[in-house]
């Protein structure tokens, strides 16, 4: 009985560990452990190879450690002096050579992948070219081929290589899509970094900023939306189509004076700050207020609610944001939120 | 203590006569190892930034007058030689000769500094200020760090000259100080040779 309990006690941590492992794979749209595209798969393959080798090493060391810890403990009153061993050439050679072999096994695919992932698609006419510019705390996506600039949501087709050229407008950030592509830093000045990936499965993926960039670093999320080629083409057209200003002249004036001084809707306004064209059909407002009709968490709500929340007090949502608290009456706020929420693109 | 030492009785290498002296010399070698990394990093930063002149600012080629720099180089090289003579005199126990050579070294050091200040003054007037460009910042930092080392060196050696000539004399305590000051002086001389090559010659060429 005692014995059986002992065995169980030893198995417990193992079981607990496995449960943890299984539950710890994370969300498919966010986890590096559930790759959704060939680049992330290749990285995951390298991770699996290295984890396997390393678990092997850990098991060997733990086994030896456990054995010596138990086997060679001092009995009370033991005054004997163990044999003073200086070393053992054969053993020392073994534990020098075996790690070297393991490292070669890991090193060769590492180098292969390093060069594979460094491939330059920026001149490839078949690839979708995207220029990513990071800002404190939002992402700008420019499609030079289509002359489109949008923000926060990277819309891409599922049938092409996506070629990224990344840079920053202010401090360092890092462009990371865990389930699709790994990350690349965005450097200032003319220092542009390239990266490519493919997303064969349609859906929405979460992207994050991975380099400390100020107070709202943790809130600098973006989305990658993968659609089929036809939708993508439709989106390109819709994105460039003219957008009507609010019918109510007062609201239209407020919008033009207060919002479009920095932002753009359609051909109106400027492009220094996030383009608002089609903001009503995006997955989130400000990257972190998730648009949904069935809100479950504090940061979720309908598009209109989220827009209102954000415009009302941006600093409360994203500390340190450049978006100011705009002087609007309650009615103006409602009307503008409603107008923006209705800015939907058909694609 | 100094009174009990007759000059003639000092050992041949008085700087290494005591454990304290040997420690000081070894410690100073190590310190110079660290200084090498320090200047190495400054050189790297300068090399990384030296082409970032900016629009409308004078380039290295336009700024540098090799004649002034060559004179400064010559002065510093000669001062290194005179500091060697000082140490040789110390090993021969010729305190007076040692002091004289040290005085000449200090004078040359001040001469170098004078030229450098004049040079910087000219550059600033030509629009090459510390905050002008990445090139100017890294230039003044590298050359200025060296200049500060020279300034510290001449003040240090002056202090030693005063100590030895007024009351302490050359003893196993003061000898290591003179010796490490000599090492220091050689080191900043070597650094200058690199500055002359990397900053000025390469600036003129490329």
């Amino acid at each position: 009985m005692m014995n059986r309990w002992h065995v169980l006690k030893r198995l417990m941590p193992l079981l607990a560990g496995m449960v943890l492992l299984l539950s710890a794979c994370g969300r498919a749209d966010l986890s590096t452990l559930r790759p959704q595209g060939p680049v992330a798969e290749e990285q995951f393959g390298l991770m699996k190879l290295s984890i396997t080798i390393m678990i092997l090493v850990v098991i060997v060391v733990f086994a030896i450690a456990l054995y010596v810890i138990i086997r060679f403990r001092r009995r009370p009153g033991d005054k004997t002096v163990p044999v003073q061993v200086e070393g053992n050439h054969k053993l020392e050679v073994i534990w020098t050579v075996i790690p070297i072999i393991l490292l070669i096994i890991l090193g060769v695919p590492t180098i292969k992948t390093v060069f594979g992932l460094a491939e330059d698609y920026t001149k490839d006419p078949n690839a979708v070219q995207v220029k990513v510019t990071a800002h404190q705390y939002w992402w700008e996506f420019e499609y030079p081929t289509y002359e489109i600039k949008t923000a926060q949501e990277l819309l891409i087709p599922d049938d092409a290589v996506i070629s990224i050229e990344a840079k920053t407008a202010d401090v360092l950030h890092s462009f990371w899509i865990p389930s699709l592509a790994g990350k690349i830093d965005t450097n200032p000045g003319g220092n542009v970094n390239i990266m490519y990936f493919e997303a064969p499965k349609q859906g929405v993926y979460l992207g994050k900023c991975a380099e400390l960039c100020g107070p709202s670093h943790s809130l600098m999320d973006f989305k990658v939306k993968v659609v089929d080629r036809a939708s993508f083409e439709r989106w390109v057209v819709a994105q460039k189509s003219p957008v009507a200003l609010p019918a109510d002249q007062e609201i239209a004036d407020v919008l033009t004076n207060q919002c479009l001084s920095c932002h753009a809707v359609g051909a109106n306004g400027g492009l220094m700050y996030p383009n608002l064209t089609g903001i009503g059909s995006r997955e989130s407002v400000a990257g972190i207020l998730i648009n949904t009709d069935q809100p479950e968490y504090a940061n979720e709500g309908s598009v209109e609610e989220n827009l209102k929340k954000w415009i009302k007090d941006p600093e409360a949502i994203k500390p340190g944001t450049l978006m100011p608290k705009v002087d609007l009456s309650e009615q103006q706020l409602d009307a503008i939120s409603k107008y923006l929420a209705d800015l939907k693109l058909d694609y | 203590m100094s009174a009990s030492h007759v000059e003639g009785k000092l050992p041949h290498e008085p700087e290494k006569a005591t454990l304290e002296g040997r420690n000081k010399v070894l410690g100073f070698w190590l310190f110079l190892g660290g200084e090498t990394v320090l200047f190495g990093t400054l050189f790297s930063a300068f090399l990384a930034l030296r082409h970032q002149v900016g629009d409308g600012n004078p380039t290295a080629d336009e700024l540098f007058k090799l004649s002034t720099v060559a004179i400064a180089t010559a002065i510093l090289l000669v001062s290194s030689l005179t500091s060697v003579f000082a140490i040789q005199a110390m090993h021969r126990n010729q305190v007076k000769a040692m002091l004289n050579w040290l005085i000449i070294t200090v004078i040359l050091g001040f001469g170098f500094l004078g030229l450098e200040i004049y040079e910087f003054y000219e550059y600033v007037h030509e629009g090459h200020k510390f905050s002008t460009s990445a090139f100017s910042t890294s230039f003044y930092t590298l050359v200025g760090f060296h200049g500060a080392h020279v300034l510290f060196g001449v003040l240090w050696i002056t202090l030693l000259i005063i100590q030895i000539s007024t009351k302490k004399g050359l003893t196993v305590v003061t000898a290591p100080k003179v010796y490490v000051a000599g090492m220091y002086w050689h080191f900043i001389d070597v650094v200058w040779v690199f500055i002359f090559t990397v900053v000025y010659l390469m600036g003129k060429v490329g």
Binding site: R27, V171, S218, E296 | V37
Partner: protein
């Protein structure tokens, strides 16, 4: 005059401010390093409390960034480094049979500059904002354009001043170990801890000047409108990353090598066995130190250095696993066939081995650059470096403190409280950081103030926070232990563990002011053990009993550091008179030190009799 008994000897506070005795300086390092460890630990707890649930508002975003910056900076520069210096100061001279370090005055200077640098850094909490750009302070976030308050100025100047202390401390240990070894103590007979202290000091010597230049450059940019990292004027932000990591990676080995040394000593002593493969251990230490300078760009795989650089640095980094592996197996085979006694010191050492292996293997995983595109700047990295720094270094420091406490203070720490401390800290540690590997792999970036709900991060973060509390509790148990021990009589024997192998165990606990009444003659590796095995009770002296020369205490190191501290404020706030006054104080002290020779004083043999023999 030569036997200058006229030299003033202070007592009380003045004694501590003026001491040049390496053992007392060791204690000063321990107290201040311990204090900063508690400060850094408190910051860690606040961080973990903030992260215990999603979208928490316990601290604000600005405060959070200050906390994470100060936690890292404090732990690395103001806690880990000085705690290692505490052990090195207390033990290295004893292990090589030296009466003193090579430069007692410089040693004191090293402590006081570190101390005032650390104080300056922490003053920032009370003057309108601590540094908030991360312990790495990457430009442009750390430049005045994006960080306009004085926080990063405190970082730059505080670290600069503390760095001077570390650098001169390193030079002191190098010279001590090269020049001050007892007769017969050849390099290949030096205890492993001394060897690691030696290599660490060499790394300090070659790594810290790079940090000095980096900090100077950032200071010039911030205070005098320089352009090193100012992109609009041709500066280069990536240059800072290079300079920082050329210093920063060797810094990691500066931290971990002495811990390796402690573990080697403790495991060997409590296994009653000679260290297995001593010469390969020495070789591995040297190799790790050397490779430490070749791998800095593995912190920059995602910076865009290109595939050639990434491939080279990947392979170079993986190579470090080989000498580290040698060490791990040498420790295991030191225990193999031994007679292992599980004191608290040894529990920490034995716990270190598997823990460090876990930190090491994740290190190799991170070395694979393409996979690092996923790991980089995620919680996986946070888990990795806490496994090597807490699981390696801090366990090593605890082990060393329990092991050498009697030699430092003459009292044994309480074993019961010690074991309680070990188990709470050890379990808490794994609970905190093991789960963070998974958080990182699941897509949680590091240095995040908040995480959204519903991303699957909640449970693991909660577990991690509970673990952190346990680590805090473990630390409290250690403090209780220290307080209890302080009230016990000073009764530790010369060789309180009875299996001591090295020279520090041949003299009384605590060591007398002059360490060795007679310099010992060393006849082999594990000098004391060798004598014991031949039935002798003490070392053979290498010299007759005679007067012992001691350096005089001096207040100058303290005043010099105060001068730098004052100058730091002057620079930061552009108060030129204050700057000049501060630097003037420091230069005046240097002048006085040069003009007034220290003749020291002598302890006569008749004084040794009643002081050397333990009462």
């Amino acid at each position: 005059m030569a036997h200058g008994h006229a030299v003033k000897r202070y007592s009380g506070l003045m004694d501590w401010l003026t001491t040049v005795d390496h053992k007392k300086i060791g204690i000063l390092y321990l107290i201040s390093g311990g204090f900063f460890f508690l400060v850094g630990g408190l910051e860690a707890l606040l961080i973990r409390i903030q992260l215990w649930k999603p979208l928490n508002d316990f601290v604000g975003a600005d405060t959070y960034n200050e906390l994470l910056t100060m936690h890292g900076t404090t732990m690395i520069f103001l806690a880990a480094m000085p705690l290692l210096f505490a052990l090195m100061n207390a033990i290295v001279p004893l292990q090589i049979g030296a009466r003193d370090v090579a430069f007692p005055f410089v040693n004191a200077l090293g402590f006081w500059t570190f101390f005032f640098g650390g104080v300056l850094l922490n003053v920032s909490w009370f003057t309108g904002g601590a540094p908030d750009a991360g312990w790495t302070s990457y430009a442009p976030l750390s430049t005045t354009t994006f960080s306009s308050d004085h926080g990063v100025d405190y970082y730059v100047l505080g670290l600069q001043i503390a760095g001077i202390g570390t650098l001169v401390g390193g030079i002191n240990f190098l010279a001590t170990i090269i020049n001050m070894r007892a007769p017969g103590m050849s390099f290949m007979r030096m205890p492993m801890f001394t060897w690691t202290a030696f290599i660490t000091s060499a790394l300090i010597l070659f790594a810290f000047p790079a940090l000095t230049v980096g900090l100077v450059a950032l200071m010039f940019d911030r205070l005098f409108s320089g352009n090193f990292f100012e992109v609009s004027n041709g500066g280069n932000a990536v240059l800072w990353e290079h300079i920082f990591w050329i210093f920063g990676h060797p810094e990691v080995y500066i931290l971990i090598l002495p811990a390796f040394g402690v573990i080697s000593e403790v495991i060997s002593t409590f296994s009653r066995k000679r260290l297995f493969g001593y010469s390969s251990m020495v070789f591995a230490t040297v190799l790790i130190g050397f490779l430490g300078f070749m791998v800095w760009a593995h912190h920059m795989f995602t910076v865009g250095l290109g595939p050639v650089a990434n491939a080279l640095f990947s392979i170079a980094t993986m190579l470090i696993a080989v000498p580290t592996g040698i060490k791990i197996f040498n420790w295991l085979f030191t225990m193999w066939g031994g007679s292992i006694r599980y004191t608290t010191a040894n529990l920490f050492a034995v716990g270190f081995v598997p823990t460090f292996v876990m930190g090491g293997v994740t290190g190799v995983m991170l070395a694979a650059a393409p996979a690092d595109f996923q790991y980089h700047d995620s919680y996986f990295v946070v888990a990795h470096f806490h496994y090597v720094i807490v699981g390696g270094l801090i366990l090593g420091i605890f082990s060393g403190l329990f092991y050498w406490w009697p030699k430092m203070f003459g009292r044994m720490l309480h074993e019961g409280w010690g074991k309680l401390c070990f188990w709470t800290f050890f379990i808490g540690f794994h609970l905190t950081f093991f789960v963070q590997h998974f958080l990182g792999l699941m897509g949680m970036p590091r240095r995040v103030w908040q995480y959204l709900d519903g991303l699957g991060f909640n449970n693991l973060n909660l577990i991690s926070t509970i673990g952190a509390m346990l680590m805090g509790l473990g630390t409290v148990f250690f403090i209780i232990n220290v307080i209890i021990t302080a009230f016990k009589p000073r009764d530790a024997a010369n060789d309180p563990w009875e299996d001591g192998r090295t020279l520090e165990w041949t003299i009384s606990s605590p060591a007398p002011e002059y360490n060795f009444a007679q310099t010992p003659l060393v006849r082999g590796y594990d000098a004391y053990w060798k004598e014991k095995m031949e039935g002798k009770k003490a070392m053979t002296p290498a010299e007759p009993l005679g007067p012992i020369h001691m350096p005089s205490p001096s207040i100058l190191p303290f005043v010099m550091s105060v001068g730098l501290f004052i100058a730091g404020f002057g620079l930061m706030y552009h108060w030129h008179i204050v700057t000049i006054a501060g630097l003037g104080i420091t230069l005046l002290c240097m002048f006085l030190r040069s003009v007034y020779d220290d003749h020291g004083f002598h302890i006569e043999p008749d004084e040794l009799q009643d002081k050397g023999v333990k009462g």
